[in-house]
Amino acid sequence: MILITKRFLLLGIIFLLVASIDKPLFAQKTLNDVKKERGLTDADVLAAVKTFMPSGGRDEYLSFAGTGNSGTMIVYGIPSMRIYKYVGVFSPEPWQGYGFDDESSLLLKKASLDDKIDTYGDMRFPALSETKGEYDGKYLFYSDGANSRVAMLDLEDFETKQVLSNPLFLSAYPEVAVTPNTQWVIQTSQFPTTWNARSIDLKKDYDTKLKSGIAFWNFHTVEGTTKTGHAGRILKEKSVALELPPYTLGYFDVGKFGSEDYVVGVANKEGKHFAYVVNYKAVTALKTKQINGFSVIPLSEALQANAIALIDLPGKARMAKVTPKGKYFIVVADQTTVFDFAKVINAIKHKTFIGNADGGIPLIDFNVVSHGSLNFGSDVLDVAFDSRPNVAYVSVHNDKKIVRWNFESMKKLEVVTLDFKPSYLMVPQGLSATPHSNYLTAVDKEGLYKHFVSVGPVRPSFQHLIDISGNKMQDLYTMSLPQCNLYGSVSVLRTVIKPIVRYPTGTNSRTGEISPFKTVAGKEKIERKGNRVHIFGTLIRSHITPEIVEVNQGDVVTFHLTNLELAEDETHGFTVNTYGKQGSFEPGKTASLTFVADREGAFPYYCTEFCSALHLEMEGILMVKPKNWRGKESGGEIQLTMAELAKYKQNYEGKLKVISQTQDVINSVVKWLKENHYENHPFAKALVEDAVAQLGKAAVAKKNYEKFAKEGKWKQAFLWAEQYFQYQVKAADAGLRAQKILKEKLGSAK
């Protein structure tokens, strides 16, 4: 602490020196000025530089939050704690077109018991896919506690690829865990229910007719089928569920390295708490029966295979987590207990049981398998691990503290007292075999801050970033997460994830395959079969093809659109006004929007994502003709007068001059880019390629304006020349951006 202060003093002096030099020149405030003006302490400034992300910088870790009932995933960075993305998982989200375009709507519909979109989920503890117990950065899984579903996201494009209904549980525990090679994605029920869609008399039939269960979703990967070399899917047909007596199930985890065949979790019944241990390797190989179209392993089979046991716990248990090397699992409770996995496995193998619990499940003696217990204080909530050997952290909610301790020696090492009540903890890479050790996040469920600006009764969730790099733990940052009821997160080193920036042209992003509705430039068409109309269209800065579509009232209309852009971040959106549909089309994506054109009239459609200088002009009109329309084919085109024609000729010639001047600008930018070897810089290179592509598209416009000029059709000639100019503007836009990026890169290199 003293050391830091000294350094600060030294720096302070230097900054004063700097200030005296730079002040007369441009009156830039010094660090001391800012500190004084804002009332920052030295510790604040240290925390600021530890978390602030300079423009263009990359966070060390990407985190994925469990957002509770919001049904939407949040992606944020550590240490800047900035939120990068919300991704629709169990809830529709219009910005992404999720639950609004056909592909994702059908995905969600088929994930419901009744073929209707369940509009929210309750997702609290996500899991990242693993290879040999390490995060591989490929997939992410969530359990929906509310409507009993499971979801898989691909971190190649950060989209939800699968949502599947668990037809048994009705309410699931909102957590998933994966086995060390992601063969199984595990989900449990939370509250017991009947599995046969019948109601019961709770007093009479509770024990006999209510059930709980553990579902083992089979995950299957095919390497090398996508751009980043991975494609995986949950196979419902190969998944199984273990039937359990009516226990209320809680947080669970999977073993590793010696304990990798086991899943452990907490359970309770009538106020009595247990830890459960299931040999899932043995269980998933057992004979199944079909219930509601799902393969179910009867409890009797599991008992016969000696694949399940309970440990009697002395008090209320919060969760069970396995230590990084798989040697122990820790049950967080009023009294936190470390269980020795080897002893547990041994007890099961040798059937060292002390009796049976409800449902005939054998009970293991707590004392036989316990490694030791510690009391950390009032309301201990969660445990997390870091890379220090045998070190764990627990949050003590009521005592407002986090304790660092050693689970091998059972010694408390360090305590940090906080200004808030910590609950759920997360260390980057924390549920993998090798957790990292510089950051710890702690959730604050209350969020009672005297100075935090209030924007109404509905408040965000809060999470603190705690620096655990040194011997002393320090609270660095208070992060707010809106539209989020925050529980756990998982966080992965940024270099482990390799996302794509565009799709191969024509990709249905939900399957990762080329869509049958892929459309390329020049192949746009409108197909009609009876009252079914399919529009195969394309999107590119700054027009939609086709721009005019006419249908009959009552037609079932589908816009199948392909974004032809190759440039990064060049997303287009699409909607037909007042028809309730919206799609997001990232570069290369093909998606479809279907609606019944049940009202007559003129309906504008447009690009909903600001894509270019002429974004507002990226529009079209859907004309809906009434049934048996008997109106007159009124109106027509306006004939040009000779004077107007002459004006167009003049405009055309003027435009050619502008085109030539614009080309000079483009040439100068190109010259600069070449001289500075843009091709060595991927971002600049991609933008230059985009600029070239834009100019390439201009060729057709040029052909047209030359043709019409030859024919003396000056209006058309002028308009096509204008279109040529628009392509030039787009090329210049991309070129200038490339120049800017390159200048910055070269500047920082010097």
């Binding site: 709507s105 506690g145 509250f191 309730g580």
Partner: protein, 794 residues
């Protein structure tokens, strides 16, 4: 020359700063080499300030920026920024200078976290925004406006438009909740809204894409387009005391079918006037598939577009006198009437403009046209003089007088390629303009017409916002650029990028970017920045409040008075959430009954937020402190459904409050199956669901078709269900018969066995419009599945 010298000096001084930092680092003894990859994740140990700065490669500017934005718990943020969420249909809210997101206030998309669109009350509110009966569950929110008093924000209300579905939303800033949705009965699209007049007399909403007011079909061609298609500008009467739009007292200017864009209301001298810009005054109809160049070419072919100048004050008086035409229930001032009474004028403006912004004095109007490198400054005094002198250069084809550009112009300044929007500084005459193509912000003097400073953005800025930057009293200090592209600024998160909002310190003579904030959901267009001192939010409602009406809910009950009413097919629960416990716990109903659950949350503190939900019924809501709200649904599924309560501000997790026990009823179950079958038919109008190749490979042949046609709603293998057991059905019936039966069940109704089955199951096999190709696959599946199930049973 002077400027170059000055730049050079600045460069040198920056260099010195960098050098000094370098020395500092060297002396603090942390010149260690970059840690090896393998060491990532091991404890760094306690670091000094210098070590942190070096490890993170921070410059002097970075350190200053960190100190200017980092806001520890003992400090308060200074400003709140309320953004449009674009196609996310919500309002992202964040704080300045910490740039922390605090809210996504829903406007027109259901949002589970808030419960918006889940309670009967908020569902009802959303329903008022459905158009022509179309269920619209999203929106494209564009331009929020804060209500004003004397030309400054009063912080009471917020209005925002929906471009995709021409509607206006009004929020109460006491609780940041939507209170009103108003549909525009004339428009098919809007864009230029919501702009408050200086005392919140009116909220302006202009069309974007024109459409016929009669909502009828007229063949699309040049002549009809000019005749039937119309733009418009609605002045929604706003009741500032109630915070509601009064539709009956509102009126609309009929406008030519130019594509109108943003607006702003005059202030001080220009009070009583409104300014609305436009593009595509060519009235061009694109049609690339018809051989016409696209809209983007035809809509930008003239050199100028028109700024519309409207006199709302005088118009309001005329409307009061009954001088309007009623169309679709809206009071419309026809173009010729507006011209006759001197309410409407046009002035040429730079091509394809976006922002039209009245300066704090009200004397100048600034327009940024995206296809011109200049920003243009109009003098209100000159405009008034031209009107008074009837000094017009002519009339447009609708007879609207056009004021010559030179007559109205104060001057123009070259600010860069693609100027887009303007925000003002407290210093007189200083404005900031976002420049889209050049990706920078220009600070310039619009009175003396000179550029003062540029700052580069990353990349392509749309709108800008400065603290109170569109009011009579801008507060300066902070400016935010709303970049449209982020490209290389953030950790990659897939093809869909976040937006980038760059915070700029404008307190000194040089603008400095001090924070890059990713905006993670939605695409903000316009935004407002309000001083936190104006906020007057509440934490709780009086017990029993309906948050939409803010009145006492008729269903509110006190603890101890909970009861259940059963009448007709309804089960109505009057319950409470008291001390985190729901009464009543268990609810017993019969399948098919209508269930209404009213709950009153008696909690009154900030942490008394509860989510109550019915598992697998997609029913949930968040009860705010003191709130009474209702869930209403048909108990169409039988079984035991957990009723759960989540105390949101405690870490306790969900508690089981009881069960919704739904007793099986054969008729109701049949209704459910029929509804299922109907949904399947609607699904099949869309493209059929097709899983990825991996999943497909693991399905039995025809299984996908069996699912897609919804056969699972009634049939199982090895078990009777809503329909007969399909196990070995292929042995009982010929392929030919099955094919005919599946495709045309109505043809077989008279067969005795079919008649008997219909009696037994009380359900007829529906015609699911199975195609000839798919029926073969389904029959193949019936055989394969039977074999699989039989093998399993052995």
């Amino acid at each position: 020359m002077m400027k170059i010298m000055k730049n050079f000096k600045q460069y040198i001084s920056l260099f010195l700063v960098a050098l000094l930092i370098g020395f500092t680092l060297a002396f603090t003894g942390c010149g260690k080499k970059q840690k090896k990859e393998a060491a990532i994740g091991t404890p760094r140990g306690t670091e000094t300030f210098g070590q942190v700065v070096q490890r993170r490669g921070m410059t002097a500017d970075d350190i200053l920026a960190a100190a200017k934005t980092y806001t520890p718990d003992h400090l308060q943020d200074e400003y709140v920024v309320i953004n449009s969420g674009g196609q996310a249909g919500n309002l992202p809210v964040y704080l300045v200078p910490s740039m922390r997101l605090v809210k996504y206030a829903p406007t027109n998309a259901r949002q589970a976290y808030d419960g918006y669109g889940y309670s009967t009350e908020t569902k009802g509110l959303m329903k008022t925004g459905f158009i022509d009966g179309v269920e619209i569950l999203w929106g494209d929110t564009h331009h929020p406006g804060i209500s004003e008093k004397n030309g400054d924000y009063d912080g009471k209300w917020l209005a925002i438009n929906d471009k995709a579905n021409p509607r206006m939303f009004v929020l109460d800033l006491k609780d940041f909740e939507v209170k009103q949705v108003v549909n525009n009965p004339l428009f098919r699209s809007n864009h230029g809204g919501a702009f408050f007049t200086p005392n919140s007399e009116y909220v302006m909403e202009a069309t974007q894409y024109p459409a016929p007011y009669d909502h009828k079909y007229h063949p699309l061609n040049d002549v009809n387009f000019r005749k039937y298609w119309r733009g418009g500008l609605t002045y929604w009467k706003f009741d500032d005391a109630k915070g509601r739009i009064d539709e009956k007292k509102s009126f609309t200017f009929e406008l030519p079918p130019y594509t109108q864009d943003l607006s702003d209301a005059g202030k001080n001298a220009s009070y009583g006037w409104g300014f609305t810009n436009s593009f595509c005054t060519e009235m061009y109809i694109g049609g690339d598939m018809q051989g016409r160049p696209p809209f983007e070419a035809g809509c930008s072919s003239r050199d100028v577009d028109y700024m519309h100048v409207t006199n709302w004050k005088k118009a309001a008086e005329l409307v009061k006198q009954g001088k309007y035409k009623l169309i679709n229930g809206m009071k419309v001032i026809p173009i010729d009437e507006a011209v006759k009474y001197g309410l409407l004028y046009l002035i040429p403006e730079p091509k394809s403009p976006h922002g039209v912004d009245v300066d704090p004095t009200g004397d100048y109007i600034l327009v940024a046209g995206k296809l011109d490198s200049h920003a243009w400054v109009y003098s209100f005094a000159k405009i008034m003089k031209a009107i008074k002198d009837k000094n017009f250069e002519g009339h447009d084809s609708y007879g609207i007088p056009i004021i010559a550009l030179q007559t109205a112009l104060h001057g123009s300044v070259e600010v860069g390629l693609g100027p887009l929007h303007n925000q003002f500084d407290p210093k007189k005459g200083i404005v900031y303009t976002s420049v889209y193509v050049d990706s920078w912000t220009t600070k310039w003097d619009y009175i003396n017409l000179k550029v003062l400073d540029h700052v580069s953005s990353n990349y392509n800025i749309g709108h800008l916002v400065a603290a109170h930057g569109d009011t009579k009293h801008p507060q300066g200090k902070y400016l935010i650029e709303l970049d449209k592209l982020a490209i290389d600024r953030f950790n990659p998160v897939g093809p869909l990028h976040p937006q980038n909002h760059q915070l700029i310190d404008i307190s000194g003579p040089k603008m400095k970017i001090i924070y890059d904030m990713p905006l993670p959901m939605g695409e903000p267009h316009y935004t407002v920045m309000e001083n936190v001192n104006l906020l007057h939010t509440i934490d709780a409602y009086p017990v029993g409040t309906d948050i939409v009406t803010l009145k006492k809910a008729p269903y509110a009950v006190n603890a101890g008075e909970e009861h259940i009413k059963r009448y007709g097919n309804n089960v109505e629960v009057f319950g409470t959430i008291n001390d985190g416990v729901v009464t009543p716990g268990n609810i017993n109903v019969n399948q098919g009954q209508n269930v209404i659950i009213h709950l009153t949350n008696t909690g009154q503190t900030k942490v008394d937020h509860f989510v109550y939900e019915v598992a697998s019924y997609d029913q949930q809501y968040r009860w705010r402190p003191g709130e009474t709200a209702s869930l209403e649904f048909v108990a169409d599924k039988s079984g035991m459904f957990p009723l759960m309560l989540d105390k949101m501000h405690t870490p306790d997790g969900r508690q089981l409050e009881g069960y919704l026990a739904v007793k099986y009823n054969a008729k109701a179950d049949n209704d459910r199956v029929m509804a299922f079958s109907k949904r399947i038919q609607i699904d099949n109008q869309m493209q059929k669901f097709k899983p990825s190749a991996i999943e497909l490979k693991n399905l039995l042949p025809g299984e996908m078709e069996f699912l897609n046609y919804g056969c699972t709603a009634c049939h199982k293998f090895g078990k009777d269900f809503n329909g007969p057991d399909l196990l070995m059905v292929d042995k009982r019936r010929s392929d030919e018969w099955l094919r005919s039966w599946i495709m045309h069940p109505e043809k077989h109704q008279k067969e005795a066995s079919i008649e008997a089955m219909r009696q037994h199951y009380k359900l007829a096999m529906p015609n699911q419009n199975v195609s000839a190709q798919d029926v073969g696959k389904i029959i193949e599946f019936l055989k394969a599945k039977s074999t699989q199930v039989l093998n399993q049973q052995e």
